[in-house]
Point group: C2
Chain length 597, copies 2
């Protein structure tokens, strides 16, 4: 299996040329000391651990999987040592709060970090990335005492974190969950219940695991507004963070599943386990959503990272595999056949992947920049508009980037023909590993509904208007290069078409609530196609800029122009159908009785 | 895991109401004795073996996989007994030549038979279905002596057949294969070489395996026109079909792969093995294509069958899984939540699957009917036009039905959320098993190129015109029911749009051969969307007919109308984008140098 090589040139191009990282970040209070050199140095280190430490364990993790025996989980050979090396490098602290041992790095850097981890070894990546999310929720909502006791060890990698929401009968609908928490006189809580699908709920990587658990207090409302968030360590720890006694937490079993075999997916049982309230009572869902939103952006990166890994293999294979002759006759008459990269349809597959990967990565960075503005900026107007964009973009990154990521992995598998279906090359593993990202942290259908309902219909398209205004402002500010004119026109037209569709749905939904759900998926996809187009315009404008031409070869920038052209000619047209599909409304969906399916 | 239940009502509706099977078949010489009752009785028997014999072995086959040891392959527990029961039922003889023990049944029946087998257990289904294909090639091209010796045992299931094309360096490009065949004085040939990806190349189901092998004679041209087809038994047999001695055929290893674990994919080595020429020297590819075309239609059925299996699970789950509330508030206030089938986006997923499955099955039947016309009809004009349609439709059924089938399985997995990702429910297995159908028997990219190049550009769109004329004739002959008018208009417009695109590509390809490959994939998809639309019109016309209303409940026919409406409102619009994508031409694909990817 070919090892993953982090696409550092592409990453630097996006970071510095498209998003002007240094200028942007150093304008934010607390990040004044960051420099392009530091960011690049960190990226290079991450590239090393991804390629040399994590990628070589990717296939072994898939083949061995995790073993469950007597309540314990054994991770695949090499994972334990790799986790220690990873933690010793301080990577668990990258975005952590500086007061508790974190490095306080911006999200703009973290998304590239996470993409590389997911690309190298998704099963491995899940544990530290979930831990960062858990630590974030704790740092924002926990009491000072809880933070002092738990954050440093979550950052250092001595302990890991989990997110315990789902129960056997309650997935999307958290309101009906049954896990109970009863207050004890000492201020702690007694948790009882069973959670399923808990990633890294039990493992042998660290001495302790800190569960973040949603549960219901005795007199709380029987809905999602009656849930509270609790920190429940597998082993209890005293004030100085020394482990004391085993808590009432156990792993009942692990799942056999399609992929991410190296990551244990656990049933976790809480039997009168001691827990600590995080945040206020009955406000658990809001606290958990801090973490969920963080993870949702991360899932998008899993899609992009795996797509890139698959792309690297497909591209190299297509350059070397000799089969048939190019369309204009033998291109390499000295060989028995031409490489398949000469065939137009193979190019279509590779360009589709490449165009999606670059735009997806750009969109993740764009969203991360908005998150950094929300977190670090001192200007309220900027913060507010960035916060609205984060709300709007998060479900799109989660759903659209994972849909494209999965589809790209399927395409990368297809390039190899039969060799893509056998395990040896790793392409089929990428497909299986990417598939989960469309499902967990809220299925993509739920993301689409979040985008359409909470983020659009409920606010009467206010968030969308923030985006449309930004896009139009960006387009107006560019001195358009002649060659980009048709793409700029295409994007401006798409913006108007999407705007008018958005208002139409808001109106319809007022008359019939089924219109929201009926429009949601296609709308999310239309938004994705549009946003990828916006990212491509930004990439192309940057590629044509003077600063880029000093740093990047003309062949590199030329390839960007050609890939961007492909996007606008070959992928952007999808928007037309989506607009028509969504416009058809709820009628045909709601017409059938449940027993007519 | 839920067992597969054959969709007999849907199958009968298509067979009798849409395609008027009895009238059509009994008009063909040799099939005068067929009756609707006989067809139905056979379908019911197939439904039984599918649901009761094969489906229960589906998951066990996936989990155990095949074992390779010392050159032998052990199939999963139960496969051997099931194969004997299957063979004893005479199912291997269904479409076989009556002179050699076959039952001579039409393809119109065989496609439903094959769909059920693939749905119940794709890994199991491959062996008998490949055997039928091999027997077909032999019956059409083999000498009388070879047919007498081998056909009866292939039909009876005493022996199985394989298709040996691919070599490690030669997949799509068969012209560069290296396996050699040297003539011996006794009229047999001596075969030497190694083949890979041989489905059922070695197993423990039967006492013998008959390989159909492409190889090159000593002085043959170094291209695909220099290949000949050979019959190479694993164990030699005398004139009376008694086994004599082991031939120089061995299995080197089996592949670890994404799915169809119950089907061994073998490396088969030929070391001075004795082979018999089938057909003429250097005409092997043509003989093999008899078999390939047969298999390509079958692969489409694998996609449709697995999609239907996945649909059944997803539909039942959606009716029972309680999560959240319907768009208009609690539909079942007495329960903690409403079933997810009340949610518009879940309906979108189920309806997409259902609309594709019905149209795909109809398209397979339509193509099968044309194959029956070619085989049985005595009217030359009819035969000729049917033959052209078979040429045109085969790559579409292979590629579009397997693309939709895979995507439908992914959708069926998505309906179950996290439960779709774990193995227990079988939805993830359907995804993995369906994936191969897009790859083997010529990747879908190759199918698209076949459609666009050989079947369209080369004949200057003549085949397409046969189809367009038939569609227009059909539409003109209908007394359009008022409610269908918009769909009829939509289909007629699609036909004209596709026609004009077709001519445009033919013109462009004359100037630049890269235009063929650049247009191919999108063109195949556009053809698929159009043909599914044509099938839906035929389904809806039949559902509104008097004969159907006497036999099928109004609820059943009403569901068809509503699903058809969904197809035209929600899936047919895809055509617009495809036309635009394809129209963009080869420019953006061919612009990059190979090292710019």
């Amino acid at each position: 299996m070919q090892q993953y090589q982090a696409p550092l040139e592409d990453m630097r191009f996006l970071l510095h040329e498209v998003f002007q990282a240094e200028t942007f970040l150093t304008s934010l209070p607390g990040l004044e000391d960051l420099s392009a050199e530091l960011l690049d140095a960190i990226l290079e280190e991450v590239a090393k651990i991804s390629g040399d430490l994590l990628s070589p364990l990717n296939q072994i993790g898939d083949r061995q999987g995790c073993r469950f025996e007597d309540g314990s989980v054994t991770t695949p050979t090499g994972f334990r040592d790799a986790y220690r090396t990873f933690a010793a490098g301080g990577w668990g602290a990258l975005t952590g709060h500086p007061d508790y041992g974190g490095q306080g790095m911006p999200k703009l850097l973290a998304v590239l970090f996470e993409e590389m981890l997911f690309a190298a070894n998704s099963a491995f990546a899940l544990t530290p990335i979930l831990t960062s999310g858990a630590a974030l929720a704790l740092s924002l909502h926990g009491s000072e005492s809880l933070k002092r006791r738990f954050l440093p060890n979550l950052y250092s990698g001595r302990w890991t974190g989990t997110m315990c929401l789902t129960e056997a009968h309650a997935g999307t609908d958290l309101g009906i969950m049954k896990t109970r928490a009863e207050p004890r006189p000492d201020g702690t809580y007694r948790l009882t219940g069973s959670k399923i699908f808990i990633t890294a709920g039990e493992h042998d990587l660290t001495e302790n695991i800190i569960h973040f658990v949603l549960a219901r207090l005795p007199d709380s409302p029987a809905s999602a507004h009656g849930l509270s968030l609790f920190l429940v360590p597998r082993t209890l720890a005293d004030e100085s963070a020394e482990l004391t006694e085993r808590n009432g937490v156990s792993c009942g079993s692990i799942e056999h599943k399609m992929g991410i075999h190296g990551s244990p997916t656990c049933v976790i049982n809480f039997d009168a386990a001691t827990g600590y309230l995080v945040g206020e009572e009955n406000r658990g869902l809001a606290c958990m959503f801090t973490m969920m939103n963080y993870e949702r952006l991360s899932m998008g990166l899993q899609g992009i990272g795996l797509a890139d890994r698959s792309y690297q293999v497909a591209r190299d294979y297509a350059r070397e595999r000799l089969q048939g002759r190019g369309p204009a006759g033998p291109a390499r008459p000295e060989q028995v056949a031409d490489p398949i990269i000469d065939h137009p349809d193979v190019r279509r597959m590779l360009l589709t992947m490449r165009a999606n990967i670059l735009a997806g990565r750009a969109l993740a960075l764009y969203t991360a920049g908005k998150l950094d503005t929300v977190k670090f900026s001192s200007e309220e107007t900027q913060q507010q508009s960035a916060a609205r964009l984060v709300e709007l973009l998060t479900p799109v990154v989660k759903a659209y980037c994972t849909d494209r990521g999965f589809q790209d992995c399927v395409t990368g598998q297809q390039v190899l023909g039969g060799h893509g279906y056998v395990s040896e090359w790793g392409q089929e593993q990428a497909v299986r590993d990417a598939r989960i990202a469309q499902i967990y942290e809220g299925t993509n259908g739920i993301q689409a509904l979040d985008l359409m309902g909470r983020k659009t219909v409920r606010c009467k398209a206010e968030y969308f208007q923030v985006l449309a205004a930004e896009v139009r402002e960006y387009l107006a500010a560019q001195e358009t290069q002649e060659t980009l004119a048709p793409y700029v026109t295409s994007l401006a037209e798409a913006c108007s078409a999407l705007e008018s569709l958005t208002h139409r749905i808001v109106e319809r939904a007022a008359a019939d609530p089924a219109e929201t759900g009926a429009a949601s998926y296609g709308y999310m996809e239309a938004m994705g196609v549009f946003l990828y187009g916006y990212m491509w315009i930004r990439i192309l404008c940057a590629a044509g800029s003077e600063t880029a031409s000093g740093t990047y070869s003309s062949a590199y920038r030329d390839a960007l122009f050609k890939t961007g052209r492909f996007y606008f000619e070959r992928l952007m047209p999808r928007l037309k159908s989506l607009l028509e599909e969504v416009s058809a409304g709820a009628g045909s969906l709601m017409a059938l009785q449940a027993d007519q399916f």
